[in-house]
């Protein structure tokens, strides 16, 4: 579905991604691991067509169609959902407005307003609140619900568990598994190794802008040492 091949991204002169290749299939959760500053967010932004990075070369194909060079709104309209790092909700919009302001990418839409509230009952209770009046967990739910309203086929999630209490992280994992059940692909940027191991099907480890390790998660879980050397966790 999503095929990233030999992508190089630059911030001005700084070369941040280096011949990076990976893929995400339908109904698959792929985790992207790595320490801070290794290029995870840059990769997500490169796929979305968000600037900076100022220059992206290589190939990012979506169902065979090249995405590099498209403005970000056109990338999104092809069915690529985006949950940015730090949620980035709109402070002047209510919960309801976050969910009604966007148009679905396709005419047929599986996701409706009601379904989003069924999926995230907490948001239904808070529907008149503005984005900046929610708790951390509610904000993350809203950031995911918001992009679901565009009816994506894949969601790029940039550190969704950041700043969440463990109980919320587990809830988030459940939601991701349910979305996978609906046939969505998820590319998950995660700092939390154990959360990533719980939820993902495959994983990639990035170091200084290149893939240094990739495997099926089930294989890795049995032998964590191979991973922890890259991530600096014990």
């Amino acid at each position: 579905m999503l095929e990233v091949s030999e992508v190089n991204s630059f911030y001005g002169e700084a070369h941040v991604l280096n011949d990076l290749s990976l893929s995400v299939g339908k109904g698959e959760i792929v985790a992207l691991l790595g320490r801070n500053g290794m290029g995870k967010t840059t990769l997500i932004r490169s796929i979305m067509g968000v600037k900076p990075p100022s220059r992206v070369i290589g190939s990012i194909k979506w169902n065979g169609e090249e995405l590099i060079g498209l403005p970000s709104f056109e990338v999104a309209r092809k069915g690529i959902g985006y949950v940015p790092q730090g949620r980035r909700l709109f402070p002047s919009l209510t919960v309801t407005e976050h969910l009604t302001v966007l148009k679905p990418a396709h005419e047929k839409t599986g996701w409706t307003f009601e379904k989003a509230f069924d999926f995230f009952p907490r948001l239904a209770e808070r529907r008149q609140n503005r984005g900046d009046q929610l708790s951390g967990g509610e904000r993350q739910m809203l950031a995911i619900a918001r992009t679901l309203m565009t009816d994506p086929n894949i969601i790029l999630m940039d550190e969704p568990s950041e700043g969440l209490a463990p109980v919320m992280v587990r809830h988030l994992e459940k939601i991701m598994a349910e979305l996978r059940g609906e046939g969505l692909g998820i590319l998950l940027v995660e700092q939390n190794l154990y959360s990533a191991l719980d939820v993902s099907d495959r994983l990639y480890v990035l170091e200084t802008g290149r893939v240094v390790h990739s495997d099926v998660t089930a294989n890795v879980a049995a032998n964590l040492d191979s991973l922890t050397q890259y991530l600096g966790v014990h």
Binding site: P71, F73, V75, A76, F90, P91, T150
Partner: protein, 286 residues
């Protein structure tokens, strides 16, 4: 000098209504889009002249108004697409660019219309005065007051009760994110800019019928609009309304009670307000 009469209060409020119409366009562009558009006064004057020509040619005030709004929106399109998009968010460049546009527009208007004073003809229906048991007040000025209120309500509904309004607010909050969620936010911003410009054009016709049109009218209205938006707080519609009433009333009080200090009566309190509330009455920091 025994306080304000009802007549003077009404004069202040109707002037405030005109100021609101012009400043509401200014607050869309300067307050929401964060574009320092110093050509807003020139757009007002251009709208006034176009409205004058169209209204005198066709004999219809309504056609004059629509022509003015359309023509000024078109000038706005040229400014936004043709010029402003090349300077990005750089405020100094926006100031210099729109100041240049102001000189250009004003000189073109001077060539076309000369230095004479013009008054946009008011339709028959709005001529003369209303009579409330001996108290006379011009119908047209009351119409301006009503129009100002109508513009406030319509803009409030647009921004707060429509999907387009929510898109504008979301774009102002975080343009990068709303774009990455599939919205062509440039187009939404362009529409907002054109709407703001059209409101300047509307103001030109409305103001041109009772303040008259002359070569430096643009600078006066721009200074008043700036005062309105700065007092009210950038980007706040309610702020623009309150700011317009404040400036309109202060202007009247100044002219009636302290004619030699008329400008000071407006800008003195504004300076004082900014010392304590740098973001204006309803301004939010971003």
């Amino acid at each position: 000098m025994n306080g304000l009469s009802l007549l003077q209060i009404l004069n202040g409020l109707t002037f405030a209504a005109l100021l609101f119409i012009v400043a509401s366009g200014f607050t869309l562009i300067f307050g929401l889009l964060r574009i320092v558009n110093l050509a807003h006064g020139a757009l007002y004057l251009a709208g006034g002249y176009v409205g004058y020509s169209a209204a005198t040619t066709t004999g219809s005030f309504l056609i004059g108004t629509m022509a003015a709004m359309g023509a000024v929106a078109l000038i706005g399109l040229v400014i936004e697409r043709g010029l402003l998009r090349f300077v990005g968010d750089n405020e100094m460049r926006q100031v210099l660019l729109t100041l240049g546009v102001t000189f250009l527009l004003n000189d073109m208007l001077l060539v076309l219309y000369g230095g004479d004073t013009f008054t946009v003809p008011v339709p028959e229906l709005l001529r003369g005065a209303l009579n409330w048991s001996g108290f006379f007040y011009p119908k047209y000025r009351l119409f301006v007051l009503g129009l100002g209120i109508a513009v406030f309500i319509l803009l409030w509904l647009l921004l707060n009760r429509t999907r387009l309004g929510a898109l504008i607010r979301a774009g102002v909050d975080d343009a990068e994110t709303i774009a990455a969620l599939g919205v062509n936010i440039r187009r939404i911003f362009l529409f907002t800019f054109l709407l703001g410009a059209a409101l300047a054009g509307l103001g030109g016709v409305i103001g041109g019928a009772f303040l008259t049109l002359y070569p430096s009218a643009d600078a006066e209205i721009l200074v008043f609009s700036l005062a309105v938006v700065i007092i009210g707080g950038r980007g706040s519609l309610l702020g623009a309304a309150v700011g317009a009433i404040a400036v309109g009333m202060l202007n009247t009080i100044g002219q009636v009670m302290f004619p030699e200090l008329a400008y000071f009566v407006i800008f003195g309190p504004m300076a004082l307000l900014l010392a304590f509330r740098p973001l204006g009455l309803f301004g939010r920091s971003v």
